[in-house]
């Protein structure tokens, strides 16, 4: 068969969203790839220029549908850097709980989407089952099922509900048992191993040079994590270590990226359990109660020349908001909101990664990088 181009997408089960991967194939072998993004480009950065600082949080939530809390927290940390706001310690703990629960939910969604990529629907349904558990916990915190609008500039929306710690501990302990079920259906299945091991090699330094970060780099054998390298929040008080996978000599393959995310789910669950124990008491969840900035009546202001940015460990890698103040004459809006999306950089790299493999490996490799098109297209 001669070489031909196949356009995978925008509506294709492989894409996990809405984008096109143009693949040049020779028989069953992939020769060349070319990603084409922008099918759900919403212009969030432009819209945010017309919103004041509290109104941007919901847009940050909606950037990545699988991982809403991490994105709104990434924004909030940047906004606090811009507006020079302090956060009480209890609020930091509550944020950590929200972010780590969201990280578990996001990885569960990833694992759920990855199982059909290698041809199994059962794993997907099981992962979605446990994701409902995390959704329930997050819903208690934020009040909504997916987009919580939970963090506030200088604190969080509300304190933990009564009995939250109890339910959270019980559910996380159940969840830690349930992870073994996934390992039973994935790790113990030789077909899964031959599908994921030995395909999609990626090396750590190469990935860093390409701008790929987060679990994908940790799968390649280096424990680089924004949470300790560019520290923020109260992660130094918790007992944790970033999950690192030992790759093969040729670099990390799909199996490593699967393993590191499962381990990270475990690590996050333990982190939440630890944080619930160490959380200081009191109801001090906002730097100034009844602050008008929260109510939206007298919005926070940042003058021209002020900038704020914050590197944040998203569930897919390092994400960042860059805010420049002075949007209008009163400094109520940001002048420019710029969003660093980890998947926007990762998708071209992952597309390069699959050259030389079979067509059947395309979903296996692409899925292992955890694409999320909502944040990619912004």
């Amino acid at each position: 068969m001669a070489e031909m181009w196949i356009s995978m997408g925008p509506q294709h089960p492989m894409t996990h969203g809405l984008w096109t991967l143009k693949v040049k194939i020779d028989g069953e072998t992939v020769v060349d790839t070319e990603p084409d993004l922008g099918y759900i480009h919403r212009g969030v950065e432009k819209i945010c220029e017309a919103r004041d600082f509290t109104q941007i949080t919901p847009y940050a939530d909606r950037l990545c549908y699988a991982s809403a809390n991490t994105w709104s927290h990434a924004y909030i940390y940047a906004a606090e850097d811009l507006l020079e706001v302090e956060v009480p310690e209890r609020a930091e703990y509550i944020r950590m709980v929200a972010v780590e629960l969201q990280r578990i939910a996001s990885h569960l969604m990833w694992l759920g989407a990855y199982c059909p990529d290698v041809g199994n629907l059962t794993g997907m349904v099981w992962c979605l089952r446990e994701r409902e558990m995390m959704m329930d916990l997050l819903q208690e915190l934020g009040g909504s099922r997916m987009h919580y609008n939970f963090p506030r500039i200088g604190g969080v929306k509300r304190d933990l509900p009564i009995g939250f710690a109890l339910r959270c501990r019980a559910k996380l302990k159940l969840f830690l048992d349930r992870i073994q079920e996934y390992e039973a259906i994935l790790d113990e299945s030789t077909i899964f191993l031959v599908r994921t091991q030995g395909v999609g090699y990626a090396k750590a330094e190469e990935m860093i040079n390409h701008g790929v970060s987060g679990p994908n780099v940790r799968a390649a054998g280096h424990n680089y994590d924004v949470r300790w390298a560019h520290p923020y929040s109260i992660y130094d008080e918790l007992d944790w270590e970033p999950s690192v996978e030992r790759p093969s000599i040729k670099g990390s393959d799909c199996y490593d990226r699967y393993r590191v995310r499962v381990e990270e789910m475990r690590q996050s669950a333990l982190m939440v359990l630890d944080g619930l124990d160490k959380m200081p008491g009191g109801a001090d969840t906002h730097y100034q109660s009844g602050d008008p900035a929260i109510l939206g009546k007298a919005p926070a202001r940042a003058a021209e020349g002020q900038t704020g940015f914050h590197h944040f460990e998203d569930s897919r890698g390092e994400s960042m908001f860059y805010l420049a103040g002075g949007g209008d004459e009163r400094g109520k809006h940001p002048y420019r909101v710029s969003i660093r999306s980890p998947m926007f950089i990762t998708i071209p790299y992952a597309s390069k990664c699959m050259i030389g493999y079979k067509i059947a490996d395309i979903p296996a490799i692409m899925g292992s990088f955890d694409p999320c098109i909502g944040e990619t297209d912004r």
Binding site: E28, V125, Q197, I249
Partner: protein, 485 residues
């Protein structure tokens, strides 16, 4: 007792034969074409039996589909389909379906209305269980004898009837239209030679197994036609994959079937079953390896997970049938399950003794159970394995199934054939027509022990070094997919 095992309480084929004989003698036999009486009678018998067998298969196919949905749902912690016929007379969410039976002419709808009233009383909305389970957030959809979810597949099939038939403009129209019929026709033809009981079959030809295997492998040709003619790159890839993997599993399948034939000494399916009944041992206990090989090859033949590359949803959108919609797709979907059904029936016949009841000689009165029921029960039992594979396993890659077929299935099937030949030549007691009782027990226990030993695939050294169970850790070991150097 042994004689009873090969007879049936319902000697349907004999009755049909008597009836057609009577009819043809009284019509053709009276006329000047009297010499064709036997042929016409035979033709009529075959035709009626074909229709009856196919009707039986199609009605029980609904059970098969229901099993698939329910079992898969249970494996996935869901409930599976729960659609019931009740909405036909109740309506949806308060929008009633209207008393449509009253529109039927001549008052023929009155009994329907009475039935409806009765059903509403015992299984209607106001049933107490419904309220209770709504409170408990467990949807209760009718009583069990309304078979919740059973009619879902009926609804799907009837819906396909009403869908528009679309042919892509650039498609090769004639091939596009012919391909589904090729697939469906060959699938249906399988059932002419699969007996459902000693007296319920449509044709008993001398070489029925040969014909069965031949007709079973025509469908991939139709798949290739369909994939090529749709003028879509995904369907083309699916069709080519189907043709490529054909050789990988077809040859082991045929060699395995050959081993059964050698063991039983006949190419006739009914004689194979009768041999198992007469000799007192089912083939699965003599050729356990053959049973496994046949099952694996059949999973590949009917293109189910883990060997469903031609319709791999993750990479090729829906595979070779991406461009088919409406009733043609529905029929191909049904023929997929018909092929699975045929595979299950063949497994039951080849290895599980066909219609012979388990311990037919020891358990008293068990031979009064109709033979056709045993065939169906065994087939459905085998279908559970197919669903189980689908729920538990992942999809392999094209090169992996080729490698698996040529490197593992083919040598193993040859070993199996040698085993069957040896058993038949030196072990089988041809005078009494029986197997020595020790042999099946020995073979089965050794095979079970081997299976358990080989299932433990953990490499202790790898575990100690914390490497992976499936080692591609070193550069030296070749692993599939390494083409990047």
């Amino acid at each position: 007792m042994i004689l009873l095992a090969t007879e049936d309480v319902l000697t349907i084929r004999d009755w049909v034969g008597i009836a057609t004989d009577f009819v043809s003698e009284n019509t053709i036999g009276m006329s000047r074409h009297w010499e064709y009486t036997d042929s016409v009678s035979n033709f009529l018998t075959e035709f009626i039996m074909c229709v009856m067998v196919f009707g039986g298969i199609m009605t029980t196919l609904l059970i098969l589909l229901w099993m698939e949905r329910k079992l898969l749902g249970r494996f996935m912690d869901r409930r599976g389909a729960r659609t019931s016929l009740r909405s036909l007379w109740v309506g949806e969410n308060g929008v009633t379906a209207g008393e449509w039976w009253n529109q039927l002419p001549f008052g023929t709808g009155v009994p329907v209305g009475m039935l409806n009233q009765f059903l509403n009383e015992v299984a209607g909305n106001d049933h107490e269980l419904e309220a209770v389970s709504r409170v408990k957030n467990r949807s209760y959809h009718g009583v069990w004898w309304m078979l919740p979810g059973f009619f879902q597949n009926l609804a799907d099939g009837m819906k396909f009837l009403t869908k528009e038939h679309m042919v892509p403009e650039k498609a090769d129209r004639y091939v596009f239209e012919i391909a589904p019929f090729l697939i469906i026709a060959t699938t249906v033809m399988c059932f002419t030679f699969i007996p459902l009981s000693p007296n319920f079959y449509s044709n008993n030809s001398e070489m029925s197994i040969l014909f069965l295997m031949a007709i079973f492998s025509v469908a991939p040709l139709g798949v290739f036609f369909a994939g090529w003619s749709s003028n879509n790159k995904y369907t083309l890839l699916g069709g080519i994959r189907s043709a490529a993997q054909l050789t990988a599993y077809e040859i082991p399948l045929l060699v395995t079937v050959l081993s059964v034939v050698v063991l039983s000494g006949s190419f006739n399916l009914i004689e194979v079953i009768e041999f198992q009944a007469d000799s007192g041992v089912w083939n699965i206990f003599l050729l356990p390896l053959g049973g496994v090989l046949f099952l694996v090859a059949m999973v590949a033949e009917v293109e189910r997970i883990p060997f469903d590359m031609p319709e791999a949803e993750a990479e090729l959108v829906e595979g070779w049938w991406t461009e088919y919609g409406g009733m043609r797709w529905g029929l191909m979907f049904a023929s997929e399950y018909l092929r699975t059904y045929a595979a299950c029936l063949l497994f039951a016949h080849f290895f599980l003794g066909g219609w012979e009841a388990p311990f037919e000689d020891t358990i008293p009165y068990i031979h009064y159970v109709p033979h056709i029921l045993w065939v169906f029960l065994k087939a459905w039992f085998m279908f559970v394995f197919f669903v189980w594979f689908r729920a538990a396993l992942h999809r392999v890659r094209t090169d992996q199934i080729l490698e698996f077929g040529w490197r593992w299935l083919l040598p193993l099937s040859l070993v199996n054939l040698a085993m069957a030949t040896a058993l038949r030549l030196w072990v089988y007691d041809g005078i009494n027509g029986e197997w020595p009782l020790l042999i099946p027990i020995l073979i089965t226990s050794i095979s079970l022990a081997l299976f358990i030993l080989l299932s433990v695939d953990e490499d202790p050294e790898a575990l100690e070094a914390q490497t992976r169970p499936f080692s591609v850790q070193t550069v030296d070991v070749a692993s599939p997919g390494q083409h990047r150097e």
